[in-house]
């Protein structure tokens, strides 16, 4: 009894410490920086120094200046397209994985995720070489007789950003879709089979609806990662592929207009949070019913 009595307070201390840490870490490393960003977005800049007096000027400029909203909108459209392409390519791959048995399934999944271990910049460099006028893609298309001359369609424009981002982000789409497909109980599929449904009917009525949560979170993952990226557009976007990320980057990198950059980030953050909420909502609605 006395032993138990002496350990209990220290255990309580420990659990209290763990609780505090669990709350403190996200607060210090996520909420506080976000709050600082939000505060900065209400400052302004004059002659290279930040003026710490609240103003709505940055937001007014974002909504009234003719360049920001169109670029913002185009970037959202671009990233939705990237998400759609990634889903269309990742779904069959994930589905194929679930049809594999035992060890093969996870070995192949690991292989598909290996690109994530490589440096992001090196991957972009490599893809840019492949897409270039003298690159592998053009050489292959010309050799196959599909193109007569190398084409500039694939690099330094919006197409290039779309292709590159899709390629880079596919692993992030495969994983959640695979997990949701794997979670579908085999008994349901057998029941469907027993009741005389064809393969296609089983897929459309059982597998697809039950995997939609995975699709939704995959889509929101890809969208969020794509919209925050400035490096890919900067490196393969050329003159027509101007995205919101590039504007944002220029506010910090070259313009030294941190407050305006912060305001643009807040706009971006709102879109990102919406995307995550939508992804999560669809993810929950059906997934938990089984």
């Amino acid at each position: 009894m006395s032993k138990a009595g002496s350990t209990q307070p220290s255990e309580r201390h420990l659990s209290l410490l763990v609780t505090v840490l669990a709350f403190a870490l996200p607060v210090v490393f996520v909420l506080v920086p976000l709050a600082i960003f939000l505060v900065y977005s209400f400052f302004s800049v004059d002659q290279g120094t930040i003026i710490h007096a609240p103003t709505l000027g940055n937001y007014v400029r974002f909504f009234t200046d003719p360049i920001f909203l169109p670029v913002f909108w185009n970037t959202i459209v671009l990233c939705v397209s990237v998400a759609v392409i990634c889903i269309l390519l990742a779904y069959p791959a994930a589905y194929f994985l679930t049809t594999l048995k035992g060890r093969w399934r996870y070995a192949l999944l690991m292989l598909l995720l290996v690109p994530l271990l490589m440096s992001y910049v090196i991957k972009i460099y490599a893809i840019r070489s492949i897409l270039g006028l003298n690159g592998f893609l053009n050489k292959a298309l010309v050799a196959l007789g599909i193109l007569e001359q190398p084409s500039t369609l694939f690099v330094f424009n919006m197409n290039a950003i779309l292709l590159t981002l899709s390629l880079l982000l596919i692993p992030f789409a495969i994983l959640p879709i695979f997990l949701s497909l794997e979670r579908i109980p085999q008994t349901l599929l057998r029941a469907s089979d027993d009741l005389g449904a064809s393969g296609l009917q089983t897929f459309l009525r059982i597998i697809l609806p039950l995997s939609l949560p995975g699709v939704a979170s995959a889509a929101s993952f890809v969208f969020v990662l794509a919209i925050g990226d400035f490096l890919t557009p900067q490196m393969v976007g050329g003159i027509s592929g101007f995205t919101f990320g590039r504007i944002l980057y220029s506010q910090f990198g070259t313009a030294y207009n941190w407050p305006f950059g912060a305001a643009l980030s807040v706009a971006l953050a709102i879109v990102v949070i919406c995307a995550i909420l939508i992804g999560e909502r669809f993810g929950r609605n059906r997934g938990t019913s089984i």
Partner: protein, 341 residues
């Protein structure tokens, strides 16, 4: 026991060495410079010739120089290297001392364009000399000798529709506004009126439509050159970039445009906290010797102020970079150019 004595001995020796070096440091000339400006063999030669020891600290960016000099109010260094665009703010902040040019015999032997320092923008103030130019490079034009014929003489070739989609430009609003202003014939490309800014912006939108992509690093430009059909490169990295391209077998040449090439110019300056002014003057004079200046060009590819080099012929017009009227405005307008469909 023996071990203890050994430690004691080591500590004494260590203390002795520490005292010696700190004594030596006190008398040494303290130099702050970019890599390549104070190579070990030159430092050795200087010490052999003058008996003055030298401690060199290398820096990697303009901001770092400012932080080091401003941070100690100039007390931590005797001599440092800074470019003309930056120098004025050091003068304004009272961090540098005027230099007596008569104490620098080698300054009389420099190339004609650097002989009269009052004609070099940015190195003097109120008739006093604050910077001694010694190293420069132009921001010229690299062209593919197989694809661009005849050889271009002006940046206006970048607007030639014949090279549409074969041009690499640099992703920087400040420089792009300056060089386009020169191409349009404006006198002071660093102080543009609102009207001139608008004209330059319109011209840059046209340029953008002729360009394949905007690059940021020399390495990046080279990679794009290798994988695409590139005829012209606006060469932010000057001679270094040409040399790197030639090394990979590219048939390229370099030209400084006739309307004037933007160019950076680094100067030796003496800090406010200089301990031994005569030693600092000797260092600068030594750097202006034919041997060191010529060697600098050989090793780095940059131009020097003493011996003719490939960076710029004596007839090439160079426009030394200066502070621009409003960097923020230029950066915003550059974004507008990029966002224009």
């Amino acid at each position: 026991m023996g071990l203890k004595r050994l430690f004691l001995k080591m500590a004494t020796v260590g203390l002795g060495i520490g005292l010696m070096t700190s004594a030596a440091l006190a008398a040494n000339l303290r130099v702050l410079a970019w890599d390549g400006y104070a190579d070990a063999d030159w430092v050795k030669d200087f010490t052999a010739a003058t008996g003055i020891g030298v401690d060199v600290v290398f820096i990697g960016s303009d901001d770092e120089i400012w932080a080091k000099i401003k941070g100690s109010e100039g007390q931590d260094f005797d001599v440092f290297a800074v470019n003309t665009a930056q120098l004025q703010r050091y003068i304004k902040a009272d961090l540098v001392s005027p230099i007596d040019v008569t104490k620098l015999p080698n300054q009389k032997e420099v190339l004609p364009r650097f002989r009269d320092l009052s004609t070099v923008s940015g190195v003097t103030k109120d008739g006093k000399v604050y910077g001694i130019p010694f190293c420069f490079d132009s921001i010229g034009l690299i062209y593919d000798t197989d694809k661009v014929k005849p050889a271009p003489t002006s940046m206006s070739v970048l607007w030639d529709p014949a090279y549409r989609g074969k041009i690499l430009a640099y992703d920087n609003g400040e420089h792009n506004f300056s060089f386009t202003a020169l191409t349009l014939g404006y006198k002071d490309p660093f102080n543009l009126s609102a009207e001139q800014m608008a004209a330059v912006k319109a011209k840059l939108v046209e340029l953008k439509r002729n360009v394949l992509s905007f690059y940021t690093t020399a390495d990046e430009a080279q990679q794009i050159y290798q994988n695409n059909d590139v005829a012209l490169i606006w060469a932010n990295y000057g001679q270094q970039q040409v040399k790197a391209l030639q090394k990979i077998g590219a048939h390229v040449a370099y030209v400084n445009p006739s309307e004037g090439a933007l160019a950076w110019l680094d100067n030796w300056v003496i800090s406010k906290g200089v301990r031994d002014n005569a030693a600092a003057e000797k260092w600068i004079d030594f750097m202006l010797s034919k041997k060191v200046s010529g060697g600098l060009s050989e090793r780095t590819g940059f131009g020097n102020t003493v011996v003719e080099s490939s960076s710029a012929g004596s007839n090439d017009k160079l426009v030394w970079l200066n502070n621009v009227e409003d960097p923020l405005r230029r950066s915003d307008m550059w974004n507008e150019v990029k966002a224009t469909p």
